[in-house]
Point group: C3
Chain length 168, copies 3
C-alpha cells in the first residue's frame, strides 16, 4: 500500500513551526510495512490542497493519502472542504469512527471536521492535527484501511463473497 502524506499548515509551510504530525504519520505507516511515496507541507489554502490531492490521485501515485491539519474551526482550516471537493465518492464512516473513538478520550473530538473520500483509485483520509490524536486515530483505523485496500481496491461490487464481508 503506497501512502502519501500532506500537512496543511500556514506556519509549517513558512517554516515558523515544526510539523510534528506529518512525521508521526510517516513513522507509523513505515513501521506498519507500507511505503511513503511522498510527503509535503502546504499552506492552509484550499486551491493548493485540492490541486495536490487531485494530482496524486490522478497520477495513481498513492493508494492512500493521509492528511493532517486544517480540520479545525479557524477560517483558514479548509482541509475537509478541499477533500470533499476532489472526491467522487464520500466515505463518511471513517471520520465517524475516528470521532467516536476519540470521544472516549475527550468529548472535544466532536469538533473535529475530518472527512474522507475516494478519487479514482485513491482513498483520502483527513487525520486530526495533533501528534497525540494522530497516533491514537491512525493506530485505530490503519488495519481497516489496509483490509479495504487488500480486498477491494478496483474489484467490482458483487452480491456476496469477500466484498459483502467488507461491506459490513
Amino acid at each position: 500500500m503506497r501512502v502519501a502524506v500532506i500537512t496543511s499548515s500556514d506556519s509549517g509551510y513558512e517554516g515558523k513551526r515544526e510539523d510534528l504530525s506529518g512525521p508521526v504519520i510517516e513513522k507509523m505507516v513505515t513501521e506498519a510495512g507500507y511505503q511513503v511515496v511522498s510527503k509535503v507541507i502546504l499552506p492552509d489554502d484550499r486551491k493548493m490542497l485540492e490541486a495536490e490531492l487531485a494530482r496524486i490521485a490522478d497520477a495513481g501515485e498513492a493508494d492512500l493519502i493521509l492528511t493532517t491539519g486544517g480540520t479545525g474551526f479557524s477560517p483558514r482550516d479548509v482541509m475537509p472542504e478541499a477533500t470533499l471537493a476532489v472526491c467522487e465518492r464520500a466515505v463518511p464512516g471513517i471520520p465517524e469512527a475516528m470521532r467516536a473513538y476519540s470521544m472516549q478520550f475527550t468529548k472535544r473530538a466532536m469538533l473535529t471536521r475530518s472527512a474522507a473520500g475516494i478519487r479514482k483509485q485513491t482513498l483520502i483520509v483527513n487525520m486530526p492535527g495533533s501528534p497525540k490524536a494522530v497516533t491514537e486515530c491512525l493506530e485505530y483505523i490503519l488495519p481497516e484501511l489496509h483490509h479495504g485496500w487488500r480486498f477491494f481496491w478496483g474489484r467490482p461490487g458483487t452480491v456476496r463473497g469477500n466484498n459483502g464481508a467488507f461491506r459490513r
Copy 2:
C-alpha cells in the same frame, strides 16, 4: 408500510451470482408484517439506480425503499451517490447508527458508505451488501423506521407533542 427492495449488482443482474441479500430483506420485511410492493436487481449503474429510486418515490409506490449492494469501494459501487442525488433531504443518523452498531461486531463496518434520505414521502435507506450484515442491521433499524412512518409521514412539524418525541 409498503416497502420496495432494490439490489445493486452487476453479476446479480447478469444472472452470474445469486442475489442473497434482496431475498433476506424481503423475508424480514414480510415477517415483520409489512408489504413488499416491488423487488428488482439492477446493475451497478448510477443512472439506472437513480431512475428506479425516483420512479418509485414519485409514483408514491412505497413508503420505504431498502437497497442492498453498491456501498463498497470498487469503482462500480455508486448506490450512496445515486441515493443522495435523488433525495431532497438527507437522514444521516440512520447510516451512522447502522455503522456504529455493526462496529460492535467488526471494525471494518467503518468502510461501509451507506446513505439514507427522503424523496417526497418515501424514505430510502442503503443496507449493507452481505446477507449477514443485512440481517443484523435490518433487525436493528426496522422498528425505528416503522415508528417514524407511523407517527410522522406527512405530518407537518410542530413544536411539541409526538413530533417532538420523534425528533429525539
Copy 3:
C-alpha cells in the same frame, strides 16, 4: 459567548402552539453565563430560515446560533437543509455526537436529521425539537462549544499547541 436562538415551527409562528424548546435553550444558555442576543420563532420555511441564519452570521451578531424544530421527517421540516445551505463549512461531529448520546436513551434518535456548520465566524447547531431532548443534548454539548469558542474562534490553524489539542 453571544448566542442567538431560532425556533422553526409553523404552529409556533402562528401562535397556535406555545414554543417550549426555545425558552429551554434560552434558560440553559443564560444559566451557563452566556448572553442571548436574539430569539425568534419562524415558520418552517427554508427561505426565511436561511435569511435569518445568514443575517445573524453576516452581521456578526452572535458567535453561536442554536436552532430547535424542523429536523424531523415531515415535508415542512427543512432546518438542516437551510443550515447547510448557508454554511461554508460543515461540522458533522456535533450532530453525530448528539445522536450517539441520545441513542443511549432512545434508538429513535437515529431519525433526527440535525446538522451543524460554520458561516463566517458563527457556529450554527440544530438542536432536537422536544424540550426534553433539547435539555439532554445541550447539557452534553454546551461545554464543548464553549471550549471551541474560547480557544479557536478566529485563530488560524497551527500544527501543534492548543489548536492541535482542540482538533482531537
